[in-house]
């Protein structure tokens, strides 16, 4: 009976913890589908987190905050796009640079905002549904961003697999030379994909700072951007599987908090390792199947393209 009462809040917390990962992973998934590997997710999330937070504190409007966060994420991503697409810089190195830069920039912007509390977003309440036992709160008592993240999953799927633009984007990711020969603007398509990835990472970061925590602290994403990158591999580049993966990691994050609540005597630092160790484990399990990765990974992932060459 007591255990059952716990399941509801745990599930609810799991969906909330999964949301920033889901935003970031869906964005990166589209980026990678277009053939670009942007390792700067962590940096874009941090910039989105701090910009969204700062704007919300100053304007009092969470909507403005999230819009600015998405814009800031995209703006940060545009640096990466210009460097890798037009100046042909190495994508791995540039992605790392983007993360290092984002960590520094967000700390700089956020220095005046440390320790300021925010209220977070209002939670949904539907009489009869939200107060349903066990799953009521988890399914019908979240805030709007949690639902938006989930809604983005079918949208991204439909875009990629049911629209012409999605088909072109995938073609560019699979074989940029052929797509170019057919007259598609490879660089322009990739540019917008990277911007989308940045905006989604920005939203994910802003969800953390404006809603989940809700406060700003330096480096507050603590590796979630990297976990999102791992999730894309785990999902074998499929949106629905990315959602399942995000829930799994949300679960691991919450588990770590609840194990202590259950009175199991494990040092908190060792429990905090769980999400990172789980990421490694999941990567190993999925990457082991080389054929499957090769079949699903965009063939031009991480390769540079110069239209004149």
């Amino acid at each position: 009976m007591n255990d059952l009462a716990l399941i509801g809040p745990i599930l609810a917390a799991m969906f909330a913890a999964a949301t920033p990962l889901l935003f970031a992973a869906l964005g990166e998934l589209v980026v990678e589908k277009s053939g670009v590997l942007n390792l700067g997710v962590e940096g874009m999330m941090l910039v989105g987190a701090v910009c969204g937070f700062a704007v919300t504190v100053q304007t009092g409007s969470a909507v403005t905050g999230f819009l600015v966060a998405a814009f800031a994420g995209a703006a940060t991503a545009s640096l990466f796009a210009v460097l890798t697409l037009f100046l042909l810089a190495n994508q791995v190195a540039t992605g790392l640079a983007l993360t290092l830069f984002g960590v520094g920039l967000s700390a700089l912007i956020g220095q005046g905002f440390v320790g300021i509390p925010l209220e977070g977003l209002p939670k949904l309440f539907i009489p009869g549904l939200t107060d349903m036992p066990v799953v009521g709160q988890a399914l019908f008592g979240q805030d709007i961003m949690v639902y938006l993240a989930v809604a983005a999953v079918p949208l991204v799927h439909l875009f990629l697999y049911r629209t012409r633009a999605g088909l072109v984007l995938r073609a560019v990711g699979e074989n940029h030379t052929a797509a170019h020969a057919l007259g598609y603007k490879v660089l322009r398509i990739r540019f917008f994909a990277v911007l989308f990835g940045g905006a989604m990472a920005g939203l994910g970061g802003a969800f953390l700072s404006m809603d989940y925590t809700p406060m700003w602290a330096e480096n507050m994403t603590s590796g979630r951007g990297w976990i999102a990158l791992a999730l894309v591999v785990f999902a074998t580049w499929k949106p629905v599987r990315a959602m399942l993966g995000a829930w799994l990691f949300g679960g691991v994050t919450i588990l770590q908090l609840h194990v202590q609540g259950l009175g199991i005597d494990v040092p908190s630092q060792l429990l905090s390792m769980l999400p990172y160790l789980a990421t490694v484990l999941v990567l190993v399990l999925i990457s082991r199947d080389v054929a499957r990765i090769r079949l699903n990974a965009p063939a031009c992932l991480g390769k540079l393209f110069h239209p004149d060459a």
């Binding site: 042909l88 190195a93 960590v103 603590s222 990158l229 060792l270 990172y276 080389v290 004149d308």
Partner: protein
């Protein structure tokens, strides 16, 4: 087509290899000028207190060397891996592990040390770092898992492990529950090389690593294999080079060097094990490796510059109340500008409409 376009050079420009790092530094300074101006500081004064004032004293120059030491050690190892397309970005974790294992030996033999303790700590630190780097190597070769993500995840694990240890087993029994170990004894502390500064024996070790790294890359068959694998993996395959061995070698080597760097921090300037032993040396070392053109000598110069950004950040914080986070912004910007200007090595910038092909 477009007004500005890139035209491939027939051959990579040797000049540009040396010019672009300087161009990147210049562009970073220019951006710093604009940034300080936008933040309402006197930009010239700020740049002076950031990049010049810290090194106007003997002590300041010493600090530069102290901060450059771990950067060189980490970056030399990373660069060798990067050349072979082995993306170890876990130097921060490997450094932390080296501090744990190397420093742990100092605690284990507390009160019963001797001349042998320091060499043992160096070896212990190297092994700790190498073991931490062996995990991504094994996972990549056995399970095809990206070493980028696994080595990075292990950074967080290592930091949490350190945090656990200083709150538990490593905590100073007489330390009033502060999360710090005992202060290391003289037997377990690296000797100071330059009186009046904190420059320690690790600086010499770093120079040795530069020389060794250069020898390995430029003068050995393994170095040749590393370069071939990095430039054209297919050719390396046809030549029958054992790529697995190179992955092991580069990861273990960079892990060991980072481990030594971590051991050098706790046995050098810090003198004990604390919860924060590195302001991100392992990450900055990535920038150092690229800025130094993946060449050991270049890395030495780049490490000094990055060390300056660390002490400059601290100095500017004290002198002008500038936020310390500026250091990270400068470091990131520098790498951006470098990567951007690197396009000049392989391409010419042409203005005007394309002429008809001859």
């Amino acid at each position: 087509m477009s007004f500005i376009r890139l035209e491939p050079r027939g051959q990579a420009s040797k000049t540009m290899v040396y010019v672009t790092p300087l161009l990147a530094v210049a562009l970073t300074l220019l951006s710093g000028f604009i940034l300080f101006l936008a933040m309402g500081f006197d930009p010239l004064k700020a740049l002076y207190s950031f990049f010049v004032a810290p090194v106007t004293s003997v002590r300041g120059v010493g600090e530069l060397v102290v901060k450059a030491t771990p950067l060189v050690l980490c970056a030399v190892g990373l660069a060798i891996g990067f050349r072979a397309n082995v993306w170890n970005i876990g130097a921060e974790g490997q450094l932390t592990l080296g501090a744990i294992t190397g420093g742990g030996l100092a605690l284990a033999f507390y009160g019963e040390g001797g001349w042998w303790l320091l060499p043992m700590m160096v070896i212990g630190g190297a092994i700790g770092g190498a073991v931490w780097a062996a995990v991504p190597a094994f996972l990549r070769l056995r399970f095809n898992a990206s070493e980028i993500l696994t080595s990075l995840m292990l950074n967080y694990v290592a930091l949490l492990l350190l945090n656990y240890l200083v709150h538990g087993p490593f905590r100073d029994p007489d330390g009033f529950a502060f999360p710090e170990s005992r202060l290391f004894e003289a037997d377990a502390t690296l000797p100071i090389l330059w009186a009046g500064t904190r420059v320690h024996l690790g600086a010499l070790v770093a120079l040795l690593a530069v020389a060794g790294g250069w020898l390995l890359i430029a003068r050995t068959f393994i170095g040749f294999q590393i370069k071939v694998i990095g430039l054209t993996p297919a050719a390396a395959g046809y030549a029958g080079f054992d790529q697995k061995r190179i992955v092991w070698l580069t990861l273990l080597l960079s892990g060991a060097l980072a481990g030594i760097a971590g051991m050098g921090e706790v046995a050098g300037p810090i003198g004990q094990i604390t919860a924060s032993i590195s302001p991100g040396y392992g990450y900055t070392a990535i920038i150092v490796a690229f800025l130094g053109r993946l060449h050991p000598v270049g890395i030495l110069l780049a490490a000094l510059l990055m060390a300056l950004s660390f002490i400059g950040g601290e100095a500017a914080q004290i002198a002008m109340g500038l936020p310390k986070a500026i250091t990270g912004v400068f470091q990131g910007m520098l790498l951006f500008f470098l990567l951007a200007s690197d396009v000049l090595i392989r391409y010419r910038v042409r203005f005007g409409a394309r002429r008809a092909a001859a």
